[in-house]
Amino acid sequence: MALNIPMPGKRFVIGVPYGWLILFFFLPFLILLYISFVDMGGDISPFKPIWDPVSGILSLKYENYLAIFRTEEGAPLFRTLYIDAYLRSIWYALCTAVLCLIIGYPFAYFIARSPASVRPALLLMVMLPFWTSFLLRVYAWKGILADQGVLNRLLMSIGLISEPIPMLYTNVSMLIGMTYVYLPFMILPLYANLVKMDFRLLEAAYDLGTTPFKAFWLITVPLSKAGIVAGFMLVFIPCVGEFVIPSLLGGPENLMIGRVVWDEMFTANDWPRATALAVIMIALIVIPLALYYHYSSDPAEKR
């Protein structure tokens, strides 16, 4: 097969996106890494160069990283503001992913089992809110969940509660917001997986006397494992770095790592600290991703 037709412009075609990415993705990352290893600067420059201009000595500073793990007294107790923020981010991202799975799995399953003629419309209806501004949809939850908001008033008018439940600026409102925003990221890969499933397998199991529940656990769930894992990653990863939703719906005790990086950068003006925090954040995201690729990719697909 003549799949590799010689193209005189091959260099140009590869060069344009390659150059773009080197310049605007790789180089910025190197700068980020570089600043995380230097000292905080004085008044004019936000950071000092890595080599001493007088003596010419090159010195890497690990101080920015150590400071993340060190408590005030200097004892490495691992309970710093930063560690807490990392753990909180991971915890909320996990909760969001689990909530999305619980809501999204039956949803994707029932769409996949609905008649083929209505499926495109049902999917389009999932995509539509997803295309309208994410910021505005998060903002709307503020009005819905406020103390004097629609939900509290509704619950009060039907007599379920006598006074408003504080929901806004708590972890409840934050989790509602994150689940709401990331639900389509769970539904779409699950649907893509479930729609390919051969539902005759379930019928065969029923014929052999299995209960629907058991058939679901023993057949449907294992067959859709790839979709579950993909959806879980698609929700978990962006949630770890989420910035807007905690800012709008979370309270002061829901400080997440994205916000901490921002504050170090613009409020404390400590660029080396902010970049060191960012580097660890990248590591936190790359590790589960690497595990995912390692376990999910087919041995046959590996080149």
Binding site: A2, V13, W131, T132, G143, I144, N152, P238, F243
Partner: protein, 278 residues
Amino acid sequence: MKQLLERHFGKAWLVLVYAFLYLPLVFMIVFSFNSTRQDARFTGFSLRWYEALTRDTKIVEGFWLSLKVAAITGVLSAVLATFAAFVLVRYRRFLGRTIFSGMVNAPLVMPEVIIGLSLLLLAVGAQNLFGWPQRGMLTIILGHTLLGMAYGMVVVQSRLMEMDRAIEEAAMDLGAKPHQVFFLITLPNIFQALLAAFLLAFTLSFDDVVISEFLSGPGVNTLPQVIFGYARRGINPTIYAAATLLIVTVTVVIVSYAVWVARSTRKREREIAAALKS
């Protein structure tokens, strides 16, 4: 009986989740027509928030800036996404292919905070070295394009992969030059995906807060930045009015795109059937 139960449970679940997905949209549309600032009670129909919207210079300026940024980002992203997808699909072997595919896909999983932060550092570095560029529209576009290109690439790549290469080879055999093949055969074939990539990048850009917050300069505020500023302060029905206009626009664009795709697919199928018959 079991099947019946499953069907009813299924319908109820679908309805509930759709209600969850659409609740904020309905809420904003309804309360954008409210006559008072009151949030939880509909006190009467009025258009005062729409009027307030047109008079809010920050929002109006932000809107035009966002529109410009999103349009340029959309075009740049679609072009770069086509390049990147072409490289990944057609060139199986070249130096640094793994690094390349890693770099193209990385923005999909990188938190926006990190993309914003690292590009800010680049911008500051360049400014110290060359005195250029000032933080503002240009830097925002660069940041958005990094993201838009990655998403657009996924769309264009899948279209390029399913495209039948025999027609390109046929054109080549008939003496077409490579660039002619690309512009006359390949491009029309992947046009639908290009449009989707443009729309995706446009929407991402039009909606982005975090990257813009890192990369904008003084006095340069995109619409989401203005809204984010308002949103942190409290309830403002003017934003509901803006949201309603956006929801209507997006619905019209997405539904017409879906109808157009469905129609052109059917047309192509009919043409293929007719060609096979003759």
